[in-house]
Chain length 468, copies 2
Amino acid sequence: MSSEEFRTNGRAVIDWIADYYERLETLPVRSQAAPGDVRAALPAHPPQTGEVFSAILRDVDYALLPGVTHWQHPSFFAYFPANASFPAILGDLLSSGLGAQGMLWATSPAATELETLTLDWLAELLDLPHRFMSTGQGGGVIQDTASSGVLVALVAALHRASGGTVGSTGLGSPRHIVYAGTAAHSMVEKAVRIAGLGTANLRLIDVDPTTQSMRVEHLRESVNADIGSGAVPTMVVATAGSTSTTAFDPVGEVGELCRESGIWLHVDSAYAGVAAVCPDLRWVNDGLEHADSYATNPHKWLLTNFDCDAFYVADRAGLVGALSVLPEFLRNTATESGAVIDYRDWQVPLGRRFRALKLWCVLRWYGAEGLRAHIRQGIELAQHFAALVATDGRFEVVAPHPLSLVCFRLRGDDEPNVELLEKLNASGKVYLTHTRVNGEYTLRMAVGSPATQTRHIEEAWRLIRELA
Amino acid sequence: MSSEEFRTNGRAVIDWIADYYERLETLPVRSQAAPGDVRAALPAHPPQTGEVFSAILRDVDYALLPGVTHWQHPSFFAYFPANASFPAILGDLLSSGLGAQGMLWATSPAATELETLTLDWLAELLDLPHRFMSTGQGGGVIQDTASSGVLVALVAALHRASGGTVGSTGLGSPRHIVYAGTAAHSMVEKAVRIAGLGTANLRLIDVDPTTQSMRVEHLRESVNADIGSGAVPTMVVATAGSTSTTAFDPVGEVGELCRESGIWLHVDSAYAGVAAVCPDLRWVNDGLEHADSYATNPHKWLLTNFDCDAFYVADRAGLVGALSVLPEFLRNTATESGAVIDYRDWQVPLGRRFRALKLWCVLRWYGAEGLRAHIRQGIELAQHFAALVATDGRFEVVAPHPLSLVCFRLRGDDEPNVELLEKLNASGKVYLTHTRVNGEYTLRMAVGSPATQTRHIEEAWRLIRELA
């Protein structure tokens, strides 16, 4: 493709995307495709000779789009939102265009330095503890997801707890133990398995049935029992805004316990953390001053296209010590000078895309005020929804809803709730997902798209009442 | 940003990228920035109010670009190429625009089905063994990098070797051992550390000094010694095209040994594997029929923007068994039917971007013939370079160069080679990196950009002779 053809095809794709957002509301939110539909609509074999780009775009429309669930639809209320925004799309397009590798500072200094700066900017916008700024001993990095973040945190925690011997001689004796609330994300179990600890060395601490918040007294008992049996309590994952209900663990109390016992504290605030752009919501950071690592995802609720998990550590040297392997072909004078960050040592992969560009574009385009307006809109709409639910005695709101997620259900058995959810989603007009709270099947209304307005909330509620 | 503003700004970015490629040759290949230069050129704090997009683009030009090393420059010969291409950029732009999550089939069926199909297409184009096709027991998935691929392969290998107990009770006794040639990529050591085995349980098998190829008799001795001491040989990583010199391990012989002993064979062909689009180069696949998992990176030499590691397994159920954790909030009828693939269970992260789009755009735009022409061009140019080096008695070519990488050096001591490389790169006219072959400092001329022509090779050689 020549650069002139790229200009033409590029404009066509830009227009395709603009048109897509303009007509998004006319499309069913959840794809109505059955397994195999999409594949069946496409050629079974790759072409021998090249095709024109318009043919590709035509297949996007006719073969792919019916199989796409529209995460940017204003009536998408499933999971958590995965915000895209036009400035982020353009930042990511610049990254694709440059095609630069940021694995080392030396392989493209701007990729590293813009990432360090942008993560410092974000830390300032969220009023994170200074220990997470690159200007001290810590710093931020973009991981693909919170799952990868908690895995590298665990590797660093094992490195610290074992004085480096896990990396050299491996796990075995003594046993290393990880703790998290039962409301913590499944990524903790996945990380524990990948890191070789096994689920037997993960303690899921029970939560208060009302707040869904980890019970610190039970954490303490569990830690003490493990110490008593000769195991090494190595990491606690505290959740600030759980996936099921946006429940908050008592991070401050958990942190004090961790400090007493020398346990690595990772705070997962994948969804909720970005709310701290609003000064009145900085309570979401409570206790963070105790954390060794922290993660929040601008790719969820802060207008930055996936993937963008902002991961911070208080001691970057510990992370690098756990993950750095330096073969000859990566040696360079900048690395050896010690004056630069090489982000490959902060993550699982070696290669890395210039992801800071999209976050930087978002922070600049919106500014602090624009970001705050976005977060406030999501919260206001969710609170409006919760108030609507409270007007109908058939329903109950089943957990605190301090941010933009409301968990609710039809009172009584699970089955009518299962049926209600399936009818709602089959309508194509809204898309919600579910969880279980204290064992009960519960619907989750997750607001947070920049496109969602009051009318979408009210239409969703009308539909819910109608189908209930 | 309204959709109308997006059309305007989007065109500006498309034009910026087209202009960038048109003027790329006038820019220094390796950034001349010193540590801190980029950061110093940007505001220290985020803006309170939003900015216009033209201000952002201006800073890309004036603050960032001097800090960018131009990986798409026709005279970029460092590391391995990380090909970008216009069709891939547009495919990735579509992915950003849709903003869909492909973690489960149910979260956007098209993302999963296009990925499965596209990886089957690629397997067909490369003539991979049928066991890696999704139509049997295996299948392909896009990982971010080969590093993540080898990590999940290791987790699956541990799962199989331990009958699942590593995931439940963790590593300890018996010890699990991983083997790779000394020429294998550092990612193997990184994976061994992340997975909790420790480097003491990694055996680096020596290589033939001429071919840099793993010595199977030494692998066999090492495996037998470990079995004798009660350890469990768990995975061998065979390299088909090493990072230092594109050396090939004897995958067939290694595979037979693995089969006899029940060891998981992972074949890493991150750079070289894509060469198999050319029928006459299918020898790069030799022995692959023994592999349990295999990875090659279209984001290196097959015109597909980073990140796109094509990772295949022969038994997808084993991989899923090792990695699947299913919390309530991800349960859905499609998953429970068993009729669909949920790619979150094939990787470390949970969330995933619609990365198949860019690879699909590449395969369609170029077709098999276009891809073959690209690979052949890289090889021809590299062979031309090797022939030029052979004309000057001061230099020696130090390893086989069957593909598009040529390792060469000034005969004699290392120091003149170190100086030569630094002078070359400081010139801004070319960018090469180095390795060590049999302990000797060696320059690597890695060809493979679609923009590179004969004149760039000849200019590079003229410069090398002049500065030597």
